[in-house]
């Protein structure tokens, strides 16, 4: 249970445009398997910036980042892409579904990229994930034919397809109404408690954060409360 899957060591980041400004100041913390963590703080405190560094998408920082015990510091772009594909699932504020493909195909895409299973197996797994989220009946529709709340659930299914070590969310309920936010929260909770899925969610919804297992509060580029 106490296995560290993600560890940030003295992560420091500067923005250089328009002036050099330190956004993150020596951030250190770790995530264990099954943790359901929320990161809160006022806008501009660096919480999203931190998330993008932890997600390996932003590589311009100082300090070190360990995912599954492996340092991300000196990896090439293609290697980082593989790490994201295999070990990280993303849910953003916007769903980012591709309208050219069906809901099912959208969920399958990262799985097909991973290439660990045959296409038929990936499809079967995608159906399973959609079932967990209660939207298997929408599988063959195009993303623009389903509702906003459902789109976000499809995005969560897509994040789950490769059984990632951790799911990262950047304001995943930011665009949703009360009812849909509740649905999304319940899904996250179920994933954490039933499937022992680790989640790291950046949010400014304090109500949402209060119900997670652990809250990391940030201010001015530092963690002020764990």
């Amino acid at each position: 249970m106490d296995q560290k899957i993600l560890e940030a060591k003295n992560v420091t980041k500067y923005f250089h445009d328009p002036i050099t400004y330190q956004v993150l100041k020596e951030i250190s913390f770790s995530v264990n398997r099954g943790d359901f963590i929320s990161v809160i703080g006022k806008s501009g405190c660096g919480k999203s910036t931190l998330l993008y560094i932890l997600s390996t998408m932003d590589t311009d920082y100082e300090g070190d980042l360990l995912i599954d015990g492996e340092s991300m510091r000196n990896k090439k772009e293609a290697e980082l892409a593989m790490v994201r594909n295999e070990k990280i699932g993303f849910v953003f504020q916007f769903h980012y579904l591709l309208n050219e493909f069906s809901v099912l195909k959208n969920v399958m895409l990262p799985g097909l990229k991973l290439g660990k299973y045959l296409e038929a197996e990936v499809e079967h797994r995608a159906y399973e994930k959609l079932k967990i989220l209660g939207i298997e009946s929408e599988a063959l529709k195009k993303p623009n034919q389903v509702s906003g709340g459902q789109k976000q659930r499809v995005a969560i299914a897509r994040a789950l397809i490769n059984d990632p070590l951790i799911i990262m969310g950047d304001e995943p309920t930011g665009n949703l109404d009360k009812k849909n936010s509740e649905i999304v929260f319940n899904i996250f909770q179920e994933l954490a408690e039933v499937y022992n899925q680790s989640l790291l969610i950046v949010t400014h919804d304090n109500e949402f954060a209060a119900r997670t297992h652990r809250i990391i509060e940030m201010e001015d580029g530092r963690i002020i409360k764990k």
């Binding site: 999203s48 993008y52 997600s55 998408m57 932003d58 772009e77 293609a78 892409a81 593989m82 994201r84 594909n85 295999e86 993303f90 953003f92 504020q93 916007f94 980012y96 579904l97 591709l98 895409l109 990262p110 990229k113 991973l114 897509r158 490769n162 950047d170």
Partner: protein, 220 residues
């Protein structure tokens, strides 16, 4: 000496047709009051016209006489046809450049439109190389399908022109426009269409592969 006209020969060049007539060597020698060994010119027809210059040189040394190959004798004609070839190729290349810029623009616009899709593909584990490959594939499929359509259209147009009447006294056996269906030209067309689209797709694809997903996703 009485001679009998047995037929008319028309070369199509009126000046020549008005002044020239043909007779057997023996008759000609008699008319000129020369002996049976008198000959001014011998013309040799080759299966491969390109061998003429070398052969002319060989005969010149062998028989100690003046030998002119057909290319030298018709150098005026050669210049004319090489100028025509250059003109047709430069028109062709100009059109390809224009078409290439068209494809370049389409792909550039497409990348702006698909920013979000590119960002999420990169976030979910597709590398810059994968994104590059997607756009190169799009460019090449425009090239291949466009090339095939263009060749079919071009062939149809040639077939149509082939039916248009073309009457000239110079070429009495030809009744319609002469069209060269040599497959080599179709192969050149196909190769050019693929090369042009590849080049037109190269830079937009590189741009797409370098898109930073963080900038796109944070910008929302």
């Amino acid at each position: 000496m009485p001679l009998k006209v047995v037929g008319f020969f028309q070369s199509g060049l009126q000046d020549i047709d008005n002044t020239q007539s043909y007779a057997s060597i023996a008759t000609t020698q008699k008319l000129l009051e020369e002996s049976g060994s008198y000959i001014t010119d011998i013309q040799v027809k080759l299966k491969d016209i390109n061998l003429a210059p070398a052969m002319a040189l060989e005969y010149q040394n062998l028989f100690d006489l003046e030998a002119i190959d057909i290319q030298t004798a018709n150098s005026q004609f050669e210049t004319g046809s090489s100028v025509r070839t250059i003109i047709s190729y430069s028109v062709g290349i100009t059109l390809l450049i224009v078409a290439g810029f068209g494809i370049y623009n389409i792909l550039n616009m497409m990348i702006y439109e698909k920013m979000d899709s590119i960002a999420i593909l990169k976030a979910t584990g597709f590398s810059g190389k994968d994104v590059n490959r997607i756009f190169i594939t799009i460019a090449l499929s425009i090239g291949i399908f466009g090339g095939i359509l263009g060749l079919i259209f071009g062939f149809g147009l040639s077939a149509l022109i082939d039916q248009v009447p073309f009457n000239t006294q110079a070429l009495p056996t030809i009744k319609t426009y002469p069209v060269n269906y040599n497959p080599v030209f179709y192969v050149i067309g196909a190769v050019f269409s693929i090369v042009t689209t590849y080049l037109a797709g190269y830079f937009p694809s590189r741009k797409a592969s370098k898109i930073d997903p963080v900038i796109i996703i944070r910008g929302k």
